[in-house]
Symmetry: C2
Subunit: 454 residues, 2 copies
């Protein structure tokens, strides 16, 4: 009798270790992801204990240490850090008060990352509202010089793809300062690029052009943008008192965090799955992109816990400094080049962690795409139906030089810009089941690509 | 010059009134829905000003008056009320304290709708934990008599369709009281049927079988269900002090609210679009189902404002009393029968107002289904891809007797049971853009079905 029991246990162990077919492996991945709470604990920790983890911050280093341990606990064979040069920028006191003949109006603002400051005393200037760079040029130096330019073109909410809508408005935030400075503006105040109408300000990076004076740049909330526009219609001579006492310091050092499960057949070929660990200082970085990091750690945990042995080496990478100057992705690709690594495929999750729609594939020829699209059948039972051409992410795009397949995780992003780059991007805004549906989809896709040489 | 300007204005008016093709009409519907805030205002009002609108309540009558006006403002030709007999049940004081040798443990509970009460003094009894009715039968009268049965089978989170997961656990809530009373139980306390692990209690209706004593039935939060189970393992003799001073009163009267745009070609043929106006007393009824009502009102508003003339009559119906005894849907179908109305199709939105995946179709033969599935091409630009067999809703199902096509609006429901029947179902949990994507999808589908005789 004892013998039979032992045999039974051994067989069930074997069965657990070797599910009979890919459908079963995928099901075991979904089953585990949807019933395990490790990911929830990781996200909660990152949101509440490393809040404000911009690239050069102590919070970012805290997140580096935390995710290094998380990758070890998840079962990575090897975990290491990769040194990344990062900017060091700090937000200061912020205040914006419109002094008008209607009275005083305080506005909710947030300095843009890497912006120069106004100094502690701030500046006072009249405003001019414009909607695009063409209009700015038409107005010209005469009326712009010594004013604060108020960029107020909203996102077009009729554009169904919310990232496309965002892309149609974000130029004001990224390039508005230099465009306005060409005509002698003193500062810019930019409507937050979002489909939402609310009181949250959405920050993000400003990029200054060379040989143009650097002027302070801040965002204001969509509600306040409407309010400011109405007040300016009543009083064009109103003066804005703007304080944004942020500062740029010399570059410093932070780290990419990498955890690897070594492949049993082709250990020198790599499949990368990543998100970015840095997040805007005013947010918890839940959807952007703590969730993407947690999903990458989950890929390691799921492979390890379910004893799914990859043929190639799988690497989960927490990229540093996606938000400011994207040096994490560059360092990762540079190091790969130096070591002569073969990067077979790379996936990035950086569009929020809402329910998965599917995946977009870039840097692949038609034949490879056709084969990848065949994988959709494995995802049909999970309601994941979108397999399309075009995709990737900013951290993995430097791997294109190695002809690496680029994969973008595509969730349902209709509500993403309610959170993006704002204080509204909190743990509470993530539905854990939606995030874990994504973790399971990502781990399953990587398993299948590796299994079938796709 | 004046003549030319006038001509130009007239032509653009004509163009607006008569878009050139169905694709343009659908686009105009999405464009309007995604940029208009009427629906947001309606939902906010229903949530904050008619909170607790169970069938026999004053709040429900307030919601009746509000939506009647909303339908008039939306541009319905005719708006009327339909008298519906409804139960009148009122929640009372509630308290559940486990008195154990470990100390006292207070639990978060909520009486089930239509449950009998314990009286103000409550009851005190030992507990027995069971997971299903089979186990209940095995345990039998000897150990169940005079106890409180604690049903603690959780929803299986590995089931991808969250409604299927819910269906696998909700029998404990609906039928647990009568099943336990067969064996002499004094009351039942039921784990909330949800995929979520949180402190919210999810209520819902209890159905008593005839000729079995009616015993009090309450739900408790998922977190407290786990806690109670652990405490009972430590002390099987612990006594629960349970107060649920709810009461059933004689039936009363409420109303379905109906708004119609009369068809220009077949005014005697009807297409119904509806949700249910009643909601659980502990919730704001945002996702369940204020949102579905608002989407139905939006269908009228969109047809009216965009001057889309339907061939058949379109009716938006706010059904009363879906949650308790579903009399609203029965009255609506009975009245239709008396008047000899032809009910061509009916759509219900009662699965939450998250992003649309698509539609499910019921009560149609293969040929009609095949034609309906052809409509998917109109929804592809909006990322709406799910057109499947099987669907409807409890309020429109009585129309099956007229051979009416049944259509269920299918949103992404992964997070739905975080809200369903609980105090967590608030306005703040609805993303307005996701809801409006659904409104546009619903209005577009009805337009296309009417246009193409599908």
């Amino acid at each position: 009798m004892k013998y039979i029991i032992t045999l039974f246990i051994s067989l069930s162990f074997l069965f657990k270790a070797s599910p009979q077919n890919p459908e079963e492996v995928v099901k075991s991945i979904f089953d585990n992801a949807l019933t395990d709470n490790t990911a929830e604990e990781h996200l909660l920790y990152l949101c509440k204990n490393t809040k404000g983890r911009i690239p050069g911050s102590q919070q970012a280093l805290h997140a580096v240490r935390y995710t290094m341990n998380a990758l070890i606990e998840a079962g990575a064979d090897t975990v290491w850090l990769q040194e990344v040069p990062v900017p060091h920028w700090e937000r200061g006191n912020e205040l914006a008060v419109l002094k008008s003949r209607l009275g005083a109006l305080e506005l909710t603002i947030s300095a843009l990352g890497l912006s120069v400051g106004t100094g502690p005393g701030g500046i006072d200037a009249k405003l001019i509202e414009v909607h695009d760079f063409k209009q700015l040029t038409e107005i010209g130096t005469g009326r712009i010089k010594d004013k604060i330019v108020f960029f107020n073109r909203p996102v077009d909410n009729t554009i169904i793809n919310t990232f496309s809508g965002y892309a149609g408005a974000v130029d004001q935030r990224v390039s508005g300062a230099s465009e306005a400075a060409k005509f002698g503006a003193m500062a810019v105040i930019v409507r937050s690029p979002t489909q939402a109408m609310h009181d949250f300000v959405h920050t993000g990076v400003v990029r200054y052009k060379e040989d143009i004076p650097r002027i302070p740049a801040v965002c204001l909330s969509p509600n306040d943008a409407n309010l400011l526009s109405r007040w300016l219609k009543e009083d064009k001579e109103a003066v804005l008192h703007l304080v944004s006492d942020c500062k740029n310091y010399p570059d410093t050092i932070s780290f990419n965090v990498i955890g690897e499960i070594t492949g049993y057949e082709k250990p020198g070929e790599y499949i990368t799955v990543g998100g970015h660990l840095d997040a805007w200082d005013i947010s918890e970085g839940a959807h952007d992109d703590g969730g993407g990091c947690v999903q990458s750690i989950e890929t390691i945990r799921l492979f390890h816990e379910l004893e799914v042995k990859p043929r190639r080496s799988i690497r989960a990478v927490m990229f540093m400094n996606e938000e400011m100057t994207s040096t994490g992705g560059q360092v990762y690709a540079d190091e790969a080049g130096k070591r002569g690594e073969i990067h077979y495929a790379a996936l990035e999750s950086d569009r929020g962690v809402m329910s998965p729609l599917g995946f977009g594939f870039g840097n692949a020829d038609d034949e490879r795409l056709e084969e990848l699209f065949q994988l959709a059948k494995y995802f049909e039972p999970y309601g994941i139906r979108y397999f399309a051409r075009g995709g990737g992410g900013s951290d993995i795009s430097p791997l294109r030089r190695f002809n690496t397949l680029q994969i973008g995780y595509i969730p349902d992003s209709q509500r993403y810009f309610w959170f993006h780059h704002s204080a509204n991007d909190t743990f509470e805004q993530v539905n854990i089941r939606e995030m874990q549906m994504g973790s399971a989809a990502i781990a399953s896709l990587i398993y299948l690509i590796d299994l079938y040489d796709l």
